[in-house]
Symmetry: D2
Amino acid sequence: MEKIIQEVLDSNRKYTNYGQVASYIPELKKAKRDDLGICIIDKDNNVYKAGNCDTKFTIQSVSKTIVLAMALMDNEWQYVFSKVGMEPSGDPFNSIMKLETNDTKKPCNPMINAGAIVTTSLIKGSTLEEREERMLKFFRRMARNENIGINYDVYKSEKMTGDRNRAMAYLLKNDGFIDGDVDEVLELYFKQCSIEIDAVDLARIGVNLASYGVDIANGERIISESVSRMVKTFMITCGMYDASGEFAIKVGIPAKSGVGGGIMASVPNKMGIGVYGPALDKKGNSIAGVKVLQDLSQRMNLNIF
Amino acid sequence: MEKIIQEVLDSNRKYTNYGQVASYIPELKKAKRDDLGICIIDKDNNVYKAGNCDTKFTIQSVSKTIVLAMALMDNEWQYVFSKVGMEPSGDPFNSIMKLETNDTKKPCNPMINAGAIVTTSLIKGSTLEEREERMLKFFRRMARNENIGINYDVYKSEKMTGDRNRAMAYLLKNDGFIDGDVDEVLELYFKQCSIEIDAVDLARIGVNLASYGVDIANGERIISESVSRMVKTFMITCGMYDASGEFAIKVGIPAKSGVGGGIMASVPNKMGIGVYGPALDKKGNSIAGVKVLQDLSQRMNLNIF
Amino acid sequence: MEKIIQEVLDSNRKYTNYGQVASYIPELKKAKRDDLGICIIDKDNNVYKAGNCDTKFTIQSVSKTIVLAMALMDNEWQYVFSKVGMEPSGDPFNSIMKLETNDTKKPCNPMINAGAIVTTSLIKGSTLEEREERMLKFFRRMARNENIGINYDVYKSEKMTGDRNRAMAYLLKNDGFIDGDVDEVLELYFKQCSIEIDAVDLARIGVNLASYGVDIANGERIISESVSRMVKTFMITCGMYDASGEFAIKVGIPAKSGVGGGIMASVPNKMGIGVYGPALDKKGNSIAGVKVLQDLSQRMNLNIF
Amino acid sequence: MEKIIQEVLDSNRKYTNYGQVASYIPELKKAKRDDLGICIIDKDNNVYKAGNCDTKFTIQSVSKTIVLAMALMDNEWQYVFSKVGMEPSGDPFNSIMKLETNDTKKPCNPMINAGAIVTTSLIKGSTLEEREERMLKFFRRMARNENIGINYDVYKSEKMTGDRNRAMAYLLKNDGFIDGDVDEVLELYFKQCSIEIDAVDLARIGVNLASYGVDIANGERIISESVSRMVKTFMITCGMYDASGEFAIKVGIPAKSGVGGGIMASVPNKMGIGVYGPALDKKGNSIAGVKVLQDLSQRMNLNIF
């Protein structure tokens, strides 16, 4: 396994030359475009690493999977899905149009921004601080890493440049899909996007989802089997922005990417994979990261279909 | 197994009272709304049946999976996907809008009508007759049933009421996604939709996809492993019209439905399932059929996520 | 003339029974649905009235014409039209979709909410208070009525229920069409919508536009000829929400309606007409008001085409 | 007048260097891009010409105004507007999207292709030949020119490249807005677009509309006053493709352009103007032609607002 992932790393390093590091906020631009890291944790808790597995980066949209899991534990699933849909949208992650053209005006799914803002609003807690604490604690639990925290420079920039998300949130509020205060919901949303992790953390989250919600390290249940399945299902149908369909065809593994350059993949009953490569394609996915997962899928026969 | 499917049949029969039999052409209206049939064929070629497994009905959109497989065998996959996309659309099956609003104008995927018309146009043959013969032969091979043929009354009605599909085909022609003669492509498309099958045929097609393209009955390869995976992937992401995401969440099995009332499901490495129940929900899926598959998935732990 | 407008009032009173008084905020619901008032002021400054010409109501979207005039005086017209388009949209007044689907993302025109928020943002003044004062002063000047002021109950309700406008404003901010602070722009926008006027005020504004910007009462120029023409042009192409085309065909007079029940019409070189009738059709236009203008146009041959 | 139009011609000739001659069919590409012609006919039947007024070109979309007039004479106006709307669309002339997204699926107005195909289908005649003859006769009557005929090379090319219009027509048929045979309707539509005229013909049509439907040369009524007003209204709101709003603001005259390079303008109660300049902007309007009309409007104070 060590050998496979090292070979896959080497043969795909060339792809770090393609695409662009995210630049909509200054902090993200600082990432080194030739970084590439792969971590695999299997269900026997073996950890395999290659490349830049210690590099910290912000979790960004990968957080949508974890917050979805939390929303599904904090609320009846029927309630969650009365506020956010289950369908892939075929539109870019920050699209507003479907909120207007579809019948229900409900955001299509929890993996696009509009839907993710809704799931964030479903996190319980009597104050914003409590919600933030509960969220951070849950991220740490999923990743088995007490050191996980928020990158406040990124957070501040997200907040400053967040007018499009603000627009979405007010529309969602107007149409009854967000109950709380819009500013507070966005505060929490910008924070969840700004949580700093590394490839190992992503692999750990991935394997805990792969093992149907049981912590592979100690056998404790973190989330229910059914929630773990739902999250992986959304990862297949909508996890890779508007390239999700292509990724499912070519790789066939539930995965969620973020513009920080991370991809968290979860192979049911087998393993979690964390990949880091900050240069992105136009849809927001790590170019080298996608190539790495495609190779790993083929070499280890991980395609679930 | 016999017992399970009989119980599932009995407990879900009540759902045949909901929804409506398709009525856009007179022939479809003749279906008996309280019919319900389930057939399972596992990878050891055991056949289990309950209910109306002998009732014939037209395959309709389920044909899109088989024609896609054929197009992928008749052409390089890169060529196929230069003409039709890989992304779920989030729109109804007969939507035209995305053909205009997305960047490429390419139909989103081969499971919506526009994309299916493209894959039909990719079937090889020097004449329309030859293409039709090859197609029928391939359907018969996939279902191991030489008696499969076209219901010409349905075909004629499809043709007569096919102006919306005609509109799509001319738009696709205009934008360079169809090469041949529009009338001929539609002729073949209307015929493929009018092929008559039963629940057993659907289960057989499903199991042959589940076994990665190898005929479970005699070990002969019908389609390549990679094609079989692609087809199942599209079934998960776009197989159940614009309820595909919900079906993936609730059932978690690759499946394709048709307005004739059939659903063909394929559980990788395990079994094929054919279900027949002609009363449909508003999105075009058999109401009882979906319920049956949800129960089977839970009772036999078939969810792939 | 007195006779004509009295007859037109009488014969159209029956239409006050159709449609609904605006109800999205409680204050608007208080309007009496059978009120109907008509005022005409011709270019010789003759004032003709019939019906409820003293009833006060909020100006709502009619304010968009006046604020547009002001924006065009406060800025170079080229600058104004770099921030807001000149094209009718064919969409409802509060549509967001076109902000995403059109090439420039620029709001289509200054008569839909998104475009009107932009023109409001172009009103000059070093503080919000100064902008508000200048605006109120300009409304009073156009209507020759120093008593015109803001209905603060309506204003507060607009502000409370304004999340959709808030969403638009943040999107406009995000795309660079609004420069200032979003909350301040909206504050001013909600206030302009809450200005209280009557049918006489509307007729006065109409006649001053009809006379190409010269105050018909004293010969002083209020706005330039070119600005007066632009405003009337937008009234024809986009003044009656998404029924503007129909109104142009059937009535043929530049007019702008508001959900408060008012319509301000301006017949170039002839007269201004103010109509009040609070029961609205589904598109937001006064049902009786439209009928009154259709009759006046026919009886006095006012169609400009 | 002679002097004015000669000066306007001279000062705007430089604009023939901008834009592109239509090239979607080979015949249109043959036009000489530096041709520029202006003809004005006033209501006293004086004819003023400058530049290339004898050059023949195809009428293209200008035909939509004349066929609309004919449809309104052949049918009750209520029936016509049950099949085609009155609203500007804000979309390109060949857009299909609104046919799907608006409530009624009705084409927005008779000046976009979809709506024009509907009005063509409303021309009466027991055979296609009769409809074609009646149409040609009406064009000749409006232009007072018995020599007007069809350019068959253009017609054949339009027909060959007409798949997008074919797509629209089948969609309209499917949704009940076209009654007859789609191929026949398109045959007539392609022919009406291929009628060959010159700037003088356009000025003549324009002045006959300007005089409310009365032939300025002999006092005979050709179309009713009300039809003439409707046509001019659509020219203002939708006559210049998706630059109609801008043209109304900058020029303020009812006008209809075609990709052949012609613009027919009609100043109510004053004059008709025909302009020819084949180099087009991206929206399909003659660049020099628009500039010429802007200058004429300013110099002769023709703005109707």
